[in-house]
Amino acid sequence: MIPTLRIDDLSVSFPRQGAAIAAVQNVSLEIAPSECVGIIGESGSGKTQVFMAAMGLLSKNAAASGSICFEGGELMRADAAALNRVRGSKLTMIFQDPMTSLAPHLAIGTQLAEVLVCHSGLSWRDAWSSAGRMLGRVRVPDPERRLRQYPHELSGGMRQRVMIGMSLLCEPTLVIADEPTSALDVTVQAQLIELLRAMRHEFGMALALISHDLGVVAGLADRILVMYAGRIVESARAAEIFSHARHPYTAEMLKCVPTLSGPRLARLPTLAGQPPQAGEISEGCAFAPRCPRVAARCRSERPLLTAAGAASVACHFPLPA
Amino acid sequence: MSGLNKAAARRLRSNPAAVFALYAMLALAALALLGPWLNPNSIEALDWLHVATRPGLQGAHWFGTDRLGRDLFMRTLAGARVSIGVGLVASVVSLVVGLSFGAIAGYRGGRIDHLMLRMIEILSGLPLIFFVIVLTVVFGRNEYLLFVSIGAVGWLTMARIVRGQTLSIRRREYIEAAVASGASASRIIVKHVIPNLIGPVIVYATLSVPQIILFESFLSFLGLGVQEPHASLGTLIAEGAGEMESAPWILLVPGGVLALLLLCLNLFGDGLRDALDVKES
């Protein structure tokens, strides 16, 4: 079976003051058809850059190497025309802030219909009515009226529904959602997670869900990739990662999240120290300075992502399964 | 300030045009100040043997002489001294007045801002030339009047710029933090508002020096500024304009110096703007 997305040895770096600052280093991953993969990591871990590279949306000064195959076709060296054929139709993206990804001066319906006219060759009239049907499918009440409204007339959650609808218009095989709910309130966030779940059942597309919020990812993902300092440090089934994290970073991070149960007013368990600054290069494991299980070997030799049971982990001394 | 200014200075140094402009201006200013000691000729001395001689290195007058046999080099340097002086003094006056006026109006807001803004509008409504002529008629012609009248009007634009910048800075969270810390309005203006708008303001001030020099030249050209036997670049150009056909150098020497000065100021101002224009990451 051909994976929907296959990224091989991807590295991305940005020039700064003469030196190349690595944002993503040797990342390889696969997303199977209709699989939901969650990618979690802190800001600066490179999780967004991996998928920006897949969408061909890296900033102009970025240098990327490696291979990105979408449904068997190489995107990395594809020309703009080839990229535009898949981008926006079969491979789509949902951003954190829909206000900045929807054009403020165009009606919602115009923006949705344009996608269909462009990619599916529909007539404007057909595209408009399909757009209305799509808004109904993403549970936007009164879709006919919404089509004629402008982005600023909608609430944040409603705009994100429109974005989700837009990303699904051409029945994509992969949707990349970059922090789709981080700008929204918890109640709205919960509704959107439900919506994404329902859409997966209806459309059967694969979903790459990028988030720093473990809770959001936990509710949706089949498999979870954990990124730290530009590398994947752990990859495992969602159920396993939350019960038996193998990488110390994942385990420590899970301990840090305050929950609605457990003791109050006590000190929270924390992960000491700061994530490494961009451009900080270490010989060994990037997590070594903060790791409770650190040993001499971690500082000299970089651990590679290797299979450990059902999961893969990049650690010399992973936690027992 | 120092850390940020170091970065700005580094960017400025890496801009060859701005560095050249800075050194050229410094050299010109040094010449204008030291000129009288370097050249035996004085501004007023009349050399009847060399009336309206062409520029040349073999004679006593490198840049030639004017109709009355006065050394053009000396007169141009003296004129540059006056022009640079007027430009600097008027810029500093407009900087100080405009900065405090604009910052107070922008920070206090409300009625005070409204009143102060109306005042600026009324003053900028007065035609400048008319204003200068009235002053000249009332107080007679003298050089200090020139400084006063240019300075008095030059701060208006500065105050508007500062007010606009202050209005946007006032909404920043660090201003709120300072208010919550118990800082007084004057402390906030001095410590928090002004340091954050000084970049654009300095740049504007640099770019306004050439405007002021031009304006001074214009007033002198009209006969409202510097008087004979003293000279400014404007009076020299006015004088030269009359001899344009017979002795073009009398126009070209001060005109060239003025053009060089303005070019340098503009290059330096642009370089400064680019150097200070950093995104506060």
Binding site: P141, V186, A218, P258, R264 | A180, G182, A183
Partner: protein, 322 residues
């Protein structure tokens, strides 16, 4: 915890349809941490700014140790600020980019202890920097040289250097990464324990609020809808909005997946029609009375206040049609 340090009474910001906060009253006791939760646009940050009189348009009274902060003179207000400090949401933008962080932390000292020598001040600032987990030598640097978490430590150092009586934290951890949030919460807890500072902790993160509050206020559309201890609130919320809020918190436990969760069509505008309960358009339990009368905040159990016409009933959880 008997003496009210802060007593907010009938606070209003804005009028009529534009009311951001309307008729809001609560008390904060000495040594207490009061959590304030609510969605964006509910007026949480406006409340913080109104209490500190950083807004000009607040009506009502904010009684601080017997003095009304909203009506007292500017000089008196400034004097009171020594004991009333605030930490902001965005750590970087709350620091002056052209001031070293050492100067930023020293600013309250310069204002309230002008007699302090430069040397003594530098020592205090250095000690404070170390107290919040940074090196004393970092005081010479500028805000842009620090990460978000470090900037927030600096903001906390500035707020705590005078040992204020009340610290208002406006979403202090919302913009920080998971692993940093816990560090900042711990720092606040430590400083509070040492200085005996009371806290008004505003956040949309229910878990964090639950963790460090003695009492929790729930705000919706400019009004308080529920006040209770965390134990009571999180075990048995009484207001339908609080219930919805708690149900929406994403859980890390995986077993919730696959369960037929309700898929709701979304949110009518929070600032609803005038008259009646602001939550009625979203409320699955709304009655006709909810559209006509504003429910008053009433004590439903000891120390547990609710503003809901149906709070005395046992409301069974409703599921929604998809």
């Amino acid at each position: 915890m008997t003496e009210a340090l802060l007593r907010v009474k009938d606070l209003c910001v804005g009028f009529g349809a534009h009311a951001v906060i309307s008729d809001l009253s609560f008390e904060l006791f000495d040594g207490e941490t009061l959590g304030l939760v609510g969605e964006s646009g509910s007026g949480k940050s406006t409340l913080a700014r109104a209490i500190l009189r950083l807004l000009r348009s607040a009506q009502g009274s904010v009684e601080w140790r017997g003095k009304d902060l909203l009506t007292c003179s500017a000089a008196e207000l400034r004097a009171q600020r020594r004991d009333l400090q605030i930490v902001f949401q965005d750590p970087l933008s709350s620091l002056n980019p052209r001031m070293t962080v050492g100067d930023a932390i020293a600013e309250p000292l310069r204002i309230f202890e002008p007699g302090l020598s430069a040397h003594a001040r530098a020592l205090r600032v250095g000690a404070m920097l170390e107290r919040v987990g940074l090196a004393a030598a970092m005081g010479a640097r500028y805000p842009h040289e620090f990460s978000g978490g470090q900037c927030q430590r600096i903001g906390i150092a500035r707020a705590m250097i005078l040992n204020p009586k009340l610290l208002i934290c406006d979403e202090p951890v919302s913009s920080l990464d998971m692993s940093i949030q816990g560090q900042i919460v711990n720092l606040l807890l430590d400083l509070q324990r040492d200085a005996g500072t009371s806290m008004l902790f505003i956040s949309h993160n229910l878990a964090v609020v639950r963790h460090l509050s003695h009492r929790v206020l729930v705000m919706f559309s400019g009004k308080l809808v529920e006040i209770a201890t965390p134990d009571a609130l999180f075990a048995a919320p009484r207001h339908p909005y609080t219930k919805a809020l708690l149900a929406a918190v994403p859980k890390i436990e995986i077993e919730a997946k696959g369960a037929a969760a309700p898929l709701r069509v979304e949110e009518p505008p929070a600032a609803g029609r005038p008259g009646g309960c602001a939550y009625r358009d979203r409320c699955p339990y709304a009655w006709p009375v909810c559209a006509s009368t504003v429910p008053p905040l009433a004590e439903a159990a000891t120390g547990h206040w609710v503003a809901c016409h149906r709070s005395h009933e046992t409301l069974i959880p409703l599921s929604f049609p998809t």
